[in-house]
């Protein structure tokens, strides 16, 4: 319960205005992107056609005709889905172990996992490229993209799940032990049903991170496993910037994830604020 505080009339008006301004600032790039995607490349760079222009779908039709948008999209779906599933497959048992059977080193392990996120990705770019291309021969494969996406998100996945699992009273797990469930049963019959909301929002967030990941997906793929990030990057053409085309590709790349996020926003917000108040 919020405390009752006095609010001036000025406050009643000013805060919503500030909120709207902030929201618009955040939304503006997206708006601009979508707006520009309906202009021709010529119109897109001309200031006089900023708002007055003839809308065209040309950029979108070109996209499916010239670059096979769907292949990139399917690659994104495959890599993001499997990376998320694998991350959960490893993350749920790991977080379970740390939440319910902590050792003296659990805190250190959690910190160590998080510390891997502090490593600049560029620092391992050369070894990664060399290893995957010349040594393992898995460069530009779905397998590689899935493994990389899974691993870079795993620390966050484990941290999030750990926080959710911590909220579950230890006694419930112990009651399960008394009732004779084994470790797998504890996870399947007690933990997962109880932490379902948390697991779902973790999955959703991981999926979004995977989908939007660009650094590795751009550098470790060429054609076969290239994702939508690569498609956007590919349209940053050397012969100059085709803003209309680039905007259309970008819009088409972010559309699925924005739609997914829109439908799941309740789940997302609940998941992200769960535990903050209790």
């Amino acid at each position: 319960m919020a405390a009752v505080t006095e609010r001036s009339n000025f406050g009643k008006i000013a805060w919503p205005v500030v909120a709207w301004i902030v929201a618009l600032i955040f939304f503006f790039p997206i708006f601009w992107l979508v707006f520009t995607s309906f202009k021709t490349d010529a119109d897109a760079v001309k200031p006089e056609h900023l708002f007055r222009f003839t809308p065209t779908l040309e950029n979108y039709t070109n996209m499916t005709q010239n670059y096979d948008y769907w292949r990139f999209a399917i690659n994104s779906v495959i890599t993001s889905t499997f990376a998320t599933l694998f991350a959960l497959f490893v993350g749920v048992p790991a977080a379970y172990a740390m939440a319910f059977n902590p050792s003296r080193h659990t805190k250190d392990i959690l910190m160590w996992m998080l510390s891997t996120k502090m490593l600049p990705a560029a620092a391992v770019l050369y070894p990664m490229t060399f290893l995957t291309k010349n040594f393992l021969g898995i460069f530009d494969t779905h397998f590689l993209v899935i493994v990389v996406l899974c691993l870079i998100n795993l620390p966050i996945v484990i941290w999030m799940l750990f926080t959710y699992f911590k909220e579950i009273p230890k006694e419930i797990i112990e009651a399960g032990k008394m009732d004779g469930v084994n470790t797998w049963g504890e996870i399947k019959d007690i933990l997962i049903p109880l932490a379902w909301g948390g697991i779902a929002s973790t999955a959703l967030l991981t999926f979004i991170f995977c989908w939007n990941e660009a650094y590795w997906t751009v550098r470790l793929t060429t054609i076969d496993a290239a994702t939508l990030s690569k498609l956007i990057e590919g349209n940053r053409a050397p012969e100059g910037l085709f803003f209309g085309r680039l905007s259309a590709v970008s819009t088409a790349a972010i559309a699925p994830i924005v739609i997914l996020g829109w439908f799941c926003q309740k789940q997302l917000v609940q998941g992200l604020t769960f535990g903050a108040v209790k």
Binding site: I172, E174, A175, G176, K177, M178, D179, G180, P193, L194
Partner: protein, 344 residues
């Protein structure tokens, strides 16, 4: 059906030892209460019997079987947790059936047992509800029901009443007593509330700092506490303690013996009666009177500055600061060594 035998049971967390060699014999059908202040190890001991904590040394046997290395669910024990620990995502029925399902019990048998337990606990109308929609008392009954359906040799209760309000606590206490009468199983019950211990137990185990201070029936502990700690822990309000310098000069005559300086005398508040100065065992100045109608708690301070309480039938006709003298029947006085606390 079985009793329990604990032999030299030790619990260590790393280098820290929290249970120091507990020996205990519990007979079949006994209602045993572990009591003691917080941190005394009573819950740890219960959890070691349950199989939720490893036993660092010594043995726990249920019946004739040493269960040190037997999984919690295979020990023939069932536990009722302080927080109930119901599965929030399952209905009352499923909560009770879960353990039997894990044991691959025949569904018809599960149904029979769950319905049987629900009848005993008057939960019949609530079987399809989720725990969220139950009151605290009903949740507690489901937790007990979950234990009953497993038909255990030994019931373990870990402070089962501490989350209930005062009225419900008294009622549930009675229900647990009735349940014990009806089922006749061995029950071990942990509490820090000595009233629960006194009312429920066949046998009380008083623990302090991971050691058993005394084992005995409630009345034994009340009448013959082995040391000052047990004397003070059992009984409400607490027993009053006085050194040789705190009692009245006429005390030796009234008690029939001198109090050596190496000893303390313990006098229960309910055994003190008001008397004239000539027969006083202790006297002091009146501080506060709490009048509860059926009796009064008279808070006193001796001239030497020791606070004590007398429980009298009627509040004394006196004002704050007035001197009141109390005496006691000599056989009701308890003597303890001032150094060791042991009964003298």
């Amino acid at each position: 059906m079985a009793g329990l035998t604990l032999r030299n049971v030790v619990k260590k967390y790393g280098e820290t030892q929290v249970m120091h060699g507990v020996d205990l014999d519990i007979e079949h059908g006994e209602f045993v209460v572990f009591v003691g202040p917080s941190g005394c190890g009573k819950s740890t001991l219960l959890r070691m019997i349950a199989g939720l904590e490893e036993i660092s040394d010594g043995t726990v046997a249920i019946g004739d079987t040493v269960v040190n290395d037997v999984a919690a669910s295979k020990r023939g024990v069932a536990m009722v947790f302080q927080t109930y620990a119901l599965y929030p995502h399952m209905t009352v029925y499923k909560n009770m059936a879960f353990g039997l399902k894990q044991a691959k019990t025949d569904p018809a048998e599960i149904d029979r047992r769950v319905k049987g337990a629900a009848e005993i606990l008057q939960l019949g109308d609530y079987l399809d509800r989720s725990p969220r929609n139950l009151s605290g008392g009903q949740r507690q009954r489901v937790a007990i029901g979950r234990a009953i359906v497993r038909d255990p040799e030994v019931f373990l209760f870990d402070e089962p009443l501490s989350n209930l309000d005062a009225a419900l606590r008294v009622q549930t206490r009675l229900e647990i007593a009735r349940l014990h009468e009806r089922l006749g199983n061995t029950m071990i019950y942990v509490t820090h509330d000595q009233v629960e211990a006194m009312t429920l137990a066949d046998k009380i185990v008083v623990l302090r700092d991971g050691r058993v201070e005394q084992v005995g029936s409630p009345i034994e502990l009340y009448e013959n506490p082995r040391n000052a700690f047990v004397a003070q822990f059992i009984g409400s309000p607490k027993m009053n303690f006085f050194g040789a310098g705190d009692i009245a000069s006429t005390a030796a005559a009234a008690l029939g013996k001198d109090l050596p300086s190496s000893q303390e005398v313990g006098l229960r508040p309910e055994h003190l009666t008001v008397c004239d100065a000539a027969n006083a065992v202790v006297s002091g100045k009146l501080d506060i009177v709490e009048n509860l109608g059926e009796y009064a708690m008279v808070h006193m301070i001796t001239d030497s500055g020791v606070s004590f309480i007398a429980k009298t039938e009627k509040p004394p006709q006196a004002h704050k600061g007035d001197t009141i003298n109390f005496t006691i029947k000599p056989e009701l006085a308890h003597y303890f060594d001032a150094q060791t606390g042991l009964r003298a």
